[in-house]
Symmetry: C2
Subunit: 720 residues, 2 copies
């Protein structure tokens, strides 16, 4: 307990030590404050010269007009150290809050888009810690750092010429990162808040009711949305889990083979598919369709309500500065009138349609080819082995599997780079749009990789018992692996490595180590740095076990949920125990994810977002595909085939009937989706109110400005 | 020529006669004008007492606050006559222009949402005839008449109590129409403009380049959109028409049987499907997919450009008064703060999902059952006839067809009423939303009625030669019928009936007739009234011939295009001459529609709209279905079946391949649709500019209003 309290104590000491005096000066009188909160840590390369550090610090504290970020900087230990601590003055925080389009509580109690000029009418405006969440303050600092741009061509002091040249309008932070001057930019943990959050979150006894608002405040939008969804999803798994258990154990004639049973005679299994199993198939299929639709529709409502609650329902990203990586000919933005790089939309669309999509298609083709090659070689080798009957040929049987794993991994790694480069070349203006398209690319590939084999078994081999076995083993194996990697390994790492680290903090060697990293010994940030190294090892380990491309934190978590959801909605009628297994998995998943995030990872920057982004779409598409998949699974089930043969229907008539059933189900799904509005009424009304009032305001403003215009010469009017 | 000029002459005389003196007074000084333009004619029932007429006139001219329409009224001949002529003062026109959210040219040259307070900065503000189009002025009058609502419970003078009771908040116009007091409300033709438009439009020699702006100015948004689309569609038919002609006449081995050839041996036809016909099938199918996608995407761009040009891209229907038929508990609209009936959205969605959709589904089921019954009876009767061999049973063969026609007609008539009542009960707030859902209902049914037989032949019977024959005969027969009903009949009617009418105008009996209708003899409106009677007969005639539910003007025109487009995109690979035939048809269609609208029908009220509404969706859905349809047609073609049998593929493998091909094509279609932006860049920029400026303006306005608030006591702030 003492060791846990200590860093926090040190932290508060530090804030006192590094009081206003040692921070850069503020020009604005309202921003002068006795207490400055360190928000973000910039880690420099060890080789960086003091003159470069000085220059970086001066740029960060320079006003926006001079290309700076108008933030507060602190040199850490001394000017030679390889770190810079950044804080934000009140004015900058408020200005960027307006730029981002964040909504805050207005004096009338409504969430209202913040406006700097109107700041006095917002609640809590005097206390930045109450007005903005920690995550928002840190994101604002990052936003400001990202938007530092060179005003004119210049040289970065202390860096040799080819690397140190800085062209006008180039993002300074990106340039410094590329030149290797800046190693890392991370938000700082607030140990006091973190401990409180952890207690509420993963140490509590109750199974539900995560402290979503606290998560949002501490970790920010994207992460809060993930946990909200996880929470909601877990709760929603109860109905299908109950149905699954009921079908498996209480419907006596539905003899589903359990996943663990190693059955060597597939024909025996086929005989098990007697009449009631068809009806349980159908119940599962229809239920799965209804459930997935209602699930997604209610989530959308919840998501809209959360986005109002968190003040992100009115984000104005298209009117902000473009993201740092955006490039194009500099010109005047016709909408905002700002000078910024411009890139025509049709070019982007052309690149997406004619380059990105075909390239992704080729990679998906390569996955399919790999699978086909694997099956082909396997048959070849096993025939050969059987033919020869020799013991020497036995190891050869494993060659196709090994080759396939290697192939998949190599392909995955190549694809990861290709996807990033494709998205870069699409040159998205907004960060969210970049993320959206990058995530989509990786997502499609990962998903395809995961499901190609199952689809092959289901629709080409039409081997339902094999599908059932494969599904069961996938669920159980991945679950065991997950439990191990996500619970046991982190726990051990935390217990031994971290405790060691904590104990060492008081001793010389660890202090040396921390000082060598350029951090003040008292800064709790050090452990973050160490964790980030551990997490890198861990990530590699995950990727090895899960046979996934090494993915970034949240992406990996989401794709895990998505793949699970896929097992459930696409194939659950084959293996009804999917839902109960997933429910068990998720109950632990919530805790371990929370623990991992709080204890084992760097605190990430997390942008304010209005929804789950591309993941919402992915889940919806999946629940749409599930209707089709369930229909065809039903059609291909041996029992239904027999029935239709008995009824004397031709194959094309069956086809037509199946298509009709499929379309009726899709229609039903769409009607259901339509009947549940995407946002609660109260959110819709708030949104429409804003729309209405801004329409009115625009008209009023025009009158005002035209009255002002009358005093100006006619030429000046054209600028409006 | 003299007879054509005359009504126009009379018209201008009338305006002089009915100068400012005989119109109701205007209170507003800016609205006093020496020339008042009569815009709308209200026809009363003949039995209406002068006191009722007096009351209606006083309500129309009463200010909005007193529940009136603030318009100008003229009693026609005298207070006993059964007509009221309505005009609009400048202030009312401008106020409603703002309410509707119409955009007009601002002083800086941009289209800007009109604002009454800022009126002096808009171009042409001094001349209402230039500022607003005729159609807009007339629509504004109708809008104002529709929004007359009783302020309190009262009695309509001169009408017996049960009918004459008027409850508070009830729409006065609707009440009067229901009580049979008002027979008709029609906009007046302006003969001078109409003659000029007609010359430009249907009398010109060139085939393209319709005067869209003039059409928009004279007839209004919905009609202008129809003609824009028709124009665009006809032009777009050239590529498929050329391909169709090429495939039919220049590909020697593709022996398509022409539509007229009565071929009694279907087996002989099947042998014609030799190898190249498969490839021409495929070329047609792929081309049709590409063409329909590009066609719709480019239309969307054109539509967006037109909507900017016509100032309707920023319509604010949700903030207007609800439509007259809207009912609900009276309350304060949370968005606009106005007192109006409120109806919860979830109730509407529930009614749609649980009542409307199932009922429509039942009717579609009845269509299918009717068709199945027809086929069953036909087989039964023809077998019986063959068995008996007697001449007496021969007429029985026609019974199923006749029964089917009667059944379809009866069903159609019932459905028409049901669709209207369903939409009424859905209680839409906006007129456009009502139209949307009503049109969708009728559209789905009509479309189903038209295509059920073709789909049955294509996918159940799988009889391609029959499909080809049926398609050819449908195209040729409907075309001949259309040409006859749309060109010959209107021409004859116009020549004989109308000329007679024109000659009679100078003689006593016709003047008597006109006076009996309550119209001044000099009013050119009379012919409009007569035309409306003729058009009613004509409509019945159309409906009889076309075996359609009697449909209203524009709907019938659109559905004709849609059904044609369906023939083309769904089945064109079977009969490549579809496109050339459609092209021929459309070239005459443009002229005859224009002629009909100008000469044979009442001038309709036409709301300002931003796009084609539901029709755009309908065309898009159809072009989506066409991908699926073409795929399956290809799969079902006998030659492809042989090929797959030769290749030794199992039926389910073929199925999977077909599904994959289908999905690849759908993907390609979606990518293509994505790559073509839905609106031209310049429209997008204008839209975003408005969005950005209103966001800014809202913030600025809040500051202003909060400064005003500071002077008010704290309680008053809550109302904001």
């Amino acid at each position: 307990m003492t060791s846990q309290k200590e860093p926090q104590g040190e932290f508060s000491t530090l804030t006192k030590v590094t009081g206003p005096s040692s921070w850069s000066r503020v020009s604005c009188p309202c921003c002068i404050s006795s207490h400055i909160e360190p928000l973000v840590l910039i880690q420099l390369a060890e080789s960086v010269q003091p003159i470069t550090k000085q220059w970086i610090m001066s740029m960060i504290s320079a006003p926006v007009k001079a290309g700076g970020a108008q933030l507060l900087v602190h040199p850490g230990e001394d000017m030679k150290g390889d770190m810079i601590v950044v804080a934000a003055p009140r004015c900058t925080l408020l200005r960027v809050t307006e730029d981002l389009g964040l909504c805050k509580t207005y004096q009338d109690g409504n969430m209202t888009a913040f406006s700097f000029d109107d700041r006095d009418n917002f609640c809590n405006i005097d206390d930045m810690k109450k007005f903005l969440t920690l995550a928002e303050r840190q994101y604002i600092v990052k936003y400001e750092l990202d938007s530092m741009r060179a005003i004119e061509d210049q040289r970065i002091p202390g860096i040799p010429t080819p690397k140190g040249k800085l062209k006008a309008r180039v993002s300074i932070l990106q340039k410094l990162e590329k030149a290797g001057v800046i190693r890392n930019v991370t938000p700082l943990h607030d140990q006091k808040l973190l401990t409180a959050l952890g207690k509420q979150w993963y140490s509590q006894k109750s199974l539900w009711g995560q402290p979503l608002d606290s998560i949002h405040a501490y970790f920010g939008g994207t992460i809060a949305y993930y946990f909200s969804f996880l929470d909601y999803y877990t709760l929603s798994l109860f109905p299908p889990a109950i149905l699954g258990v009921f079908i498996t154990f209480f419907l006596p004639s539905a003899n589903f083979s359990s996943g663990n049973k190693t059955d060597s005679e597939p024909t025996a299994l086929k005989d098990d598919d007697d009449h009631p199993s068809v009806s349980s198939y159908m119940v599962q299929a229809v239920f799965s369709m209804l459930w997935s639709t209602i699930f997604m529709e209610l989530w959308k409502r919840r998501s809209a309500a959360l986005s109002y609650r968190w003040g992100t329902f009115n984000l104005a990203e298209q009117f902000q500065e473009p993201r740092p990586g955006f490039h194009g000919e500099v010109g005047t933005n016709p909408v905002t009138g700002r000078l910024e790089p411009l890139f025509p939309d049709w070019k982007r669309r052309l690149r997406m349609g004619l380059v990105s999509v075909p390239v992704v298609g080729v990679f998906l083709g390569l996955v399919v080819m790999g699978m086909a090659g694997f099956y082909f070689c396997e048959r070849l080798v096993s025939n050969w082995h059987k033919g020869s009957g020799s013991y020497f040929t036995a190891p050869l049987v494993y060659i196709p599997s090994i080759a396939h794993i290697v192939y998949t991994n190599v392909l995955g790694n190549i694809y990861r780079n290709v996807a990033l480069q494709l998205t870069e070349s699409e040159n998205h203006r907004e960060e969210s749009s970049f993320d959206y398209h990058h995530t989509t690319k990786v997502l499609v590939f990962t998903f395809f990789n995961n499901f190609a084999v199952l689809f092959h078994i289901a629709f080409f081999k039409e081997d339902m018992p094999l599908l059932r076995k494969r599904l069961a083993s996938l669920l159980i194996v991945t679950q065991v692996v997950n439990q191990f990697t996500e619970v046991v390994v982190p726990f051990l790492v935390d217990r031994f490595l971290t405790s060691a680290d904590r104990n060492l903090k008081e001793d010389d060697p660890e202090v040396d180590h921390l000082q060598a990293q350029g951090s003040l010994p008292a800064f709790p940030v050090s452990s973050t740095v160490l964790y980030s190294q551990i997490s890198r090892i861990q990530e590699l380990y995950f990727s090895y076990i899960l046979n996934l491309v090494p993915l970034q934190g949240l992406f990996a978590e989401y794709i895990e949920l998505l793949v699970q959801f896929g097992y459930l909605s696409l194939f659950s009628c084959v293996y009804p125990l999917t839902a109960p297994l997933l429910l068990l998995n998720n109950l632990t998943e919530i805790r371990t994810d929370a623990y991992k995030l709080c204890k084992l990872f760097n605190k990430p920057f997390s942008a304010p977002v209005a929804n789950m982004g591309v993941w919402q779409l992915a889940f919806e598409v999946l629940s749409f595909i599930s209707v089709v998949s369930n229909c065809w699974l039903l059609l291909l089930s041996p029992r239904v085939k027999e029935l239709t043969q008995e009824a004397g229907l031709s194959s094309s008539q069956i086809l037509v009937i199946a298509v009709i059933v499929e379309h009726v189900l899709i229609m039903a799904k769409m009607i259901l989706a339509f009947m549940i509005p995407d946002e609660p009424d109260w959110v819709r009304i708030k949104r429409e109110q804003i729309e209405f009032h801004s329409m009115q305001a625009l008209k009023k403003q025009r009158i005002k400005s035209s009255r002002v215009d009358e005093k100006l010469p006619p030429k000046a009017k054209m600028g409006e």
